[in-house]
Structures are given as structure tokens and as C-alpha cells.
Symmetry: C2
Subunit: 550 residues, 2 copies
Amino acid sequence: MDDNSPPPSKTELVADWEHLSKVFIRPEDDDCRATLIKYMERILFGLHEFLKRHVGITEAKSLRDLSRSYMRTEISEDPEKKLADVITCLINETAPHAVNVASPYFVGHMTSAIPYFMVHLKTIVAALNQNVVKLETSKVFSVVEKQVIAKIHRLIYHMDEAFYAEHVQNTETTLGVFTEGGTTANLTALWVARNARFAPTEEFRGIECEGVPAAFRAHDVDRCVILASRLVHYSLRKSAGILGIGNDNVIPIEVDEHYQMDVNALEETIERFKSRSPNTCILAVVGIAGATETGTVDPLDAIADVCGRHNIHFHVDAAWGGPTMMSREYRYLLQGIEKSDSVTIDGHKQFYMPMSCGMVYFRDPTILDVIAYHAHYVNRRGSVDLGIKSLSGSREANSLILDSALKIMGSKGYALLIDHGIRTAAAFAEEIRQRPDFELVTEPVLNILTYRYCPADIQESLGRKKQEDKCRINNELNKVNRDLQRMQREAGQSFVSRTTLQGDRHCPEDIVVLRAVIMNPMTDMAVLREILDEQENIAARFCTNDLPEA
Amino acid sequence: MDDNSPPPSKTELVADWEHLSKVFIRPEDDDCRATLIKYMERILFGLHEFLKRHVGITEAKSLRDLSRSYMRTEISEDPEKKLADVITCLINETAPHAVNVASPYFVGHMTSAIPYFMVHLKTIVAALNQNVVKLETSKVFSVVEKQVIAKIHRLIYHMDEAFYAEHVQNTETTLGVFTEGGTTANLTALWVARNARFAPTEEFRGIECEGVPAAFRAHDVDRCVILASRLVHYSLRKSAGILGIGNDNVIPIEVDEHYQMDVNALEETIERFKSRSPNTCILAVVGIAGATETGTVDPLDAIADVCGRHNIHFHVDAAWGGPTMMSREYRYLLQGIEKSDSVTIDGHKQFYMPMSCGMVYFRDPTILDVIAYHAHYVNRRGSVDLGIKSLSGSREANSLILDSALKIMGSKGYALLIDHGIRTAAAFAEEIRQRPDFELVTEPVLNILTYRYCPADIQESLGRKKQEDKCRINNELNKVNRDLQRMQREAGQSFVSRTTLQGDRHCPEDIVVLRAVIMNPMTDMAVLREILDEQENIAARFCTNDLPEA
């Protein structure tokens, strides 16, 4: 893959018809079969070596140096490499510059090790190459998808047996959709909410047909807003932008000292709009079940009640936290999610599926009718084609992976992972509290926490300072933590991410924090202590001069 | 997977910590490695048997019967199956009810056999599990993606060496984006066009921030339209719906007798809007390079000139036809595409990649700035994160597959496939003309054609009939062709799709046609003759009574 690699041998290259057709024929003889298996072996175990290494976002080769090897922009007319050479090159030259997200020391992002069988399942999806946009290119996998969607719907909404018997394989109704990821899941939820709210009237064909300005006129609305915790994922703002509502109209609701949406503030905001701006439509309220930065969960039950009273679409972004519902011990954290109108859950997050898999669920099995599209060649009226009610057109049969994984793991298997993450994060928080040089900034609710390097004397003195001194001190600490995170990342042994918690009424300054996401079951306290040790060492060696005075 | 399968043995199930952690550890001993390889072998060659069979959208088991096996909606708490059992069940019980899109006899849709190495490449993507939304979870694969995007951009736009040297690895500029598929690629193109057109002014923060109604006011616009051939893919209407423009505002432009956009009609429509509705904004003109139903290509060069004169964003939906640019012999068919502002190309269509992979390219490397989003934890300003300018958030490193495939195939390898499809479609058209019982309805330009069962005497008499008789006859023929296509599909030996060509000024009635897409290199004239023979047999046995009188 690297352009500096030696020229490959040119046998078996495919730019003539004979060789080309071979790559389309399944191998019939034992030699061919053995070769294909050998390639798979190299993929599984060559990459193995890479996956055993540490994190490797190392600067051993800087991005700039790396980029220099990937400058050529002409497509070669003749084949350059055989599959065998491509695989070798990927394993030996490219993968070493990838990021080992599977390392237990990689605790910075919502991407982690996945169970090895996920790779096998993805291979099956690729080999079958079904397209679930329509029955004619997927058949049984459309049926499988409807079943697994009903399973997750049931996990969320607990409707009764009769409800699921009616809807699981009902070709007229839809309980949810697979999407590319959380962003398109959130977009789909708000798209549906928008179209349901600005429905057709006698003289108006609906917002999907006539557009936003006509919808506002028909419904006597002059502004449309979405209310969400100010910790909401940026994809909600992006969705409002795409949908023509405007991302400025995602109104941030303040959080309390636990980083949960302040329900009083929500209620006040709704009342204020209703009294002062009666022509403003409150399209939806978005609650978070696992905030990206802090892992916190909004008070879903209370928010649901507010939305119920005001008849507002309640969407829960549970892209991260959704699978917590499989844990008997911690599912109470998401209480109220069953009262929501729609829920986003990512498959590639805590269902441990490979990229890319999102999902969105709706309580009302008919609400997706408002985004239905038909064509003469596909998605014909009355057909069972899954593409009728979805943002995507063609897409792979990812449902097969989730369905199989649920069978292999059981909800108990997933619960073990969830429980491990939450317990380990709690223990990690305790460890951080014990170490005098660190300050725990946000308590873990699920398996995410934030902290910063801030020696005890400074922590203590911050409590006594005037606001302007606090501000200066925090700014200096922000720089230290930014440097610390960068130096640890560049060392390549472990990876903790950083983010900036925006100032609010509880703490007026922006605070740069280190952020740990504990989802890899191999990440245990021994690993986490090593990570803190390394941070202490880096700070002692490089950051002491930059620290503010206590 | 089928719920009626025998209960699995319960050893090695993963719902306790010891077994669970094993599935996250790469196998260290030879036994484990051998087992994992054995599974892969079963996937590659167990599915092989399925892939060798005929099409199999058979009704041997009806959809209704099939659905009955997939009704259970509770997630089992305990694991139900080991990976080995899941694989066996998928191969023996589920796959037989899938659709064999890899069969040379499956010529109905834009999904086909893929080269076997694509499965290996997809496995690599899954095993690495990189997330290209940001550098910190992908590193080298962000760089690889930028390179392969520049390669395809160059294939389309042929800018000079200096241009690509400047932009290929430039972290400030972007030549294109990977998307889930053609739908999200088209959506991205129109989203970008919308935001570029309704840009910020002194008193307006831009359409993305403030929404469509505010944008209309700020830019003194009262309607926004998109002009496209009436054969345009339904995803363009969907995109206009999502973007708040309204799908009614996708204005269909008539096609000529070759099913190409009538450029005079386009020009007249533009002039009419400009003179009669000066406050209507013509947001974009969409040209098609490979219409879904007919495979036809709009006169891109002439459309580009019209757009240039009127300063309108010109988008080309080359989801299907894009790779034709790699054929020296046929690239002239897409002449003018290099004058477009944006181009959609699907990876999972004629790049023969596995589902799901779309792409969208932009001539102007800075235009994607209008959809940029940032956050504190990802996509920070000035970072090289690919997620800054894209519809998706998290997504897999599909670029690795395209990059490797280009190296393995060379553009010549792809050209062989393209040329085979176009030549075979031409020969198939000739065969249809030779057979008295069939009528060729749309000539193939690329590798798609439509035809219908319509015996010679009826064809001849249609020319002599009055309009109302024609209408009746065509209606009867429509029913015959609908039945014929269904019966062939249900027989399960081969699959040709059907669509309905809408009546227009050339032929006022809707015509139901059979549609063949020739993309599988194993689909040759012998296969196609068999398909016609089968249709003749079915028609002779079941349809003669329904045929209209000549």
C-alpha cells in the first residue's frame, strides 16, 4: 500500500480476461482453496501481531512523513499487486501505522476490541453480499432484520406479546431501521419527527413534499426548535442543519452539577416558548443516555413526563448507553427510555459490532410512514422492501451480525461487558481520588469519566481564590493537561482522549479534561494504574514548570 | 438462525467471564488458530455451495412461511449457540433462503458477484476496526482515504499534477467523501449545493445555522427547485425532502426518444423560471450517468454548458456509470462529467466492492467547508479528522478496499468488466430484436436494457391502432409481462427485474418492461439466451390466453 514498497511479481495479475474471470469464480480445486485459506490465515494472524502491540498512535512516523508516502494520484492502468502482495503490504507496512483500537491501553474513544467472531460474521455478510434495500436482493435477510429489530424494540419498549406477534413480520409496519451509524440514526429520528409534526392538511401536501417554508405557513409556525442537553452529540445539531430547521435552533438546556439535563430548566424553556413565542414549534426534546464527553444519562423518566404533558416528540440518543438495558444491575439508569418516541442505539459501540452500524427505533410502528418513498423498480407500494422507510438506499445485511451476536453472547454475555465497564470506571474514579496529583472532574455513571492533572495543593487553593485568579489558574492547568495528553499519545503506549468541558453556572471556565472510556474487557485496574503512572511520570518530567502556583 | 434448529451444545458459550474474555483475546495456541481458520474455511466454501446454485428467489418456501420461523422477539438471556453452530446454521438453514446475487443468471439488479478478494479485503477492514471519523482511531487509513479519493477525483476531473500535489494530503481541503451509498452521496451533494447557495451574509449566519425559511428571507427567494431528468433516481427526491426544499421541487425535465435529458427542455425550463418566477432559486441541475431503469446517460457536456451559462450547480449522479471512465473505449459516453460541480459514484456497484460504499466528489476542494462541523472531543478545528466534512460520523475504512482493488485490478482490469457488460448488452439487444416474441424497449447505452414480451403481430398492429386501442393493448401486455417476470422469478432459475416506464410525449402509456443489468462477467450470451428461452416457454404455457388480439 505504501508506494515505496518493492514492485510485485506480475504473475496472476488480473488485467486480462482469463485472469479476471478467475477472480469471479469460486475456486474449484484444492490448491485454490488452500491459497484462499492461507490468505485468511495471514489476515487473521498477521494482523494479530499488530493487535497485540500497544496503542501506536505514535509519532515515530509523523503524519507529515506518513503522508509523503501516499501522494501518487494516478490510477495505474496495469495491475500493480496480487492479492497476496496487497495483504502482505497491509500487514507489514500499513497496519503498523494504524491505531490499535483493540489495545486495553486504548481507553480514549468509543472504539475498542471486538470479539473475534465479529470478524467472521462480517466476512459472511461480505461473502453473501445481500442488499437489504429490497426483498429481491436479500429475501431471508429482510426477515431476519425485522426479527432482530423487534428484539431490540422489545428490549426498549417492553410491549406485550400480542404487539410483537402483530408487528415482528408485518410488512406494513416498521419498528426500527438500521442506519450507517448514530449520526444517521439521529437524523432519521428528527426527520420522522419533523414530517409527523408538519403533516399534510387539506391544502398542504406535507413538509416532505413542499419544504420547510410552506410547512411553516400551512401550520402557522414561524420557528421550529429542538431542545437538548448542552452535552448533546454534535450530530443532533448537524441533523437540524440538514433538515432545514437550522442548527441554531437546537436550544441547549442547562445541566445540573451531575451533568444531567436540568428538568426544571427544560420545563421553564418550554413554558417560555409557549407564552412568549406561541408560533414557535417545539419539534422534539432530546435526552442523552450516555453523553459522549461524560457518559452521563439524562433523567429520562422526568423528561418523558414533561414531553408527555406538552405533547412533544421525545427522542433518546442512546447510541452509547443503549445496551446497558441488558444489564439487570444497571438497566435502572435508563429508566424512562420506554416512554420515549424514538431511540438511537449504535451497533458498533456497546454491541461490539464492527464499524459501521447504527439503529433507530420508534414506539409507534406506523410513524415511519411519514418518510416512505417508492419507485417503479424498487420499493413498490405494498412490497415488503425494507428500503421504503429508510434514509439509506442499498445497504449490507448488518442485522445478521447483531442477530448472531445476540445468540452467541446472550443478553447475559453483554451484561458482563457492561457491568465490567461500569464497575471498572467506578474503581478507576476511586483510584484517581486517591492520587493527590489528579482531580476527578466528572463522576462515572456508566463507563466514562473525566479527570485532570491538578496537584492537591492547587485543587485546594482553587477553592479559596477569587474568580479572576481561578480563571488564570484553570487556563494554565488546561495547557498542562493538553500537553500531557499529547505527550502520552505520542509515546504510543496508551491513549486517553481529551475534551473541553464548557463553562457553565457551576464552573464558569472551560476545563480541559482527560477522558477515559472503559469498554474493553481487558482494560482492568492494573492497566489503568499504569496509565496514571505514566501520566504522573510525564507530568513530573515535562510539566512542572508550567503548573500554576498554588 | 432458524428457530426450529436443534438446540446447540452448551459448551464454550460465553455468558461467564472466563469464556467471555476468551472471545476478546487473539488465540495464542495452535489449536485455537486452527479452529478459527476452520470457521473461515466453512464460511468461504460452505457458502460456496450456495453461491454455485441458481438464483433462488424461489417460492419453494414462501415469504409467509419463511416469516413464521422468525417470530420470536425475546433476546435470550443465556447464549443459544456457539460460533460454530451459528456458522453451520447460516450456511445450511439461512443462506438457502437468501438470494444468490452472484449467479450469472441474476441479471435483474445492480448487485452481482464480486471478485473473491473483496471478501478478504472486507475481512481486513473488520479485523482492524478503524474508525475514520478521526485520526486518533485511524491514522494511516485517513491518509489512505485521502489518496484514493484524489485518484478517483483525478479520474473525473483531470486537474493537473500541481493541483493534486497540493490537495491530495492537504488537511484543509477535501476532494470527496465516502458515504454509505449513492443515496447519502446524492444527499451530501445537494446539501453542499444548498449551503453554498444560501451562504452567510452580513446579517445572516447561513442556511445551516438558521434554516430554510430564514435563508429564503435573507436571499430574497421564495422557492427553491432542482431540475433533473424525469428518470432520476428517487434518492434525489428523497434528498430534497430531507433538506427541507421539498421533493415536489425536484422538477422533472423531459427526455428525448433515447431517454436522455432534453437539453432544450432544460434550457426552456430555466428561462421560464427566470422570467416568470424571478424569486425562484434554481439550486442545481442533476444529470444522470447510468439511469437506474434504462442505463442511459444524459448529455452531460451540453448540460454542463447550460449550467455554466446560468451559474447553476451541476451534479452528476454517476452512481452506476462512473467506473465507465476507466474504459478507453467507452469513456466518451460520460464526456462533460469533468465540467460538473459534483459527482456521485457507488463503490458497491461497478467498482464491485461489497455493500455498503458510496462516494461523492467535488470539483472545488474548498466547497465542503460549508458543511463543516466541529466538537470538543472530535473534529477539532485545524485537525485532520475526516469527520469534519461528512454526513456520517463514525464509519469503517472502506477506502482500504477500493485502494487495494485498484491495485489488484488496475484500471484495465475494471475496463475489461465495463467493456464486457456494454458489449454483452448490445449483443443481447440484437438477440431480442431477432426473436419475434420480444420487443426491445430501450436500447442499451451502457449495460442495461429493457424489453418486453410482445409477439411480432401485436408489435406490428400497435403501429396501426388508434390511441385508445393502443392503450388497451398496452395494458394487457403490461399484465402479461408482470406475470411473466413473476413466474420466472418464482421458478428460481434466473432473475430479470421489471419496472414501469412512465408514459411521456413519445409514448403516452405506462409500459411495463423487463429489465436486464449485465454486470457479472460470467453472464454471457449463452446464459442470456437461456433466460429468453425460459421466458418464451413460460409465456407459451401460461400467458397466451391473456395476450391481446393483434
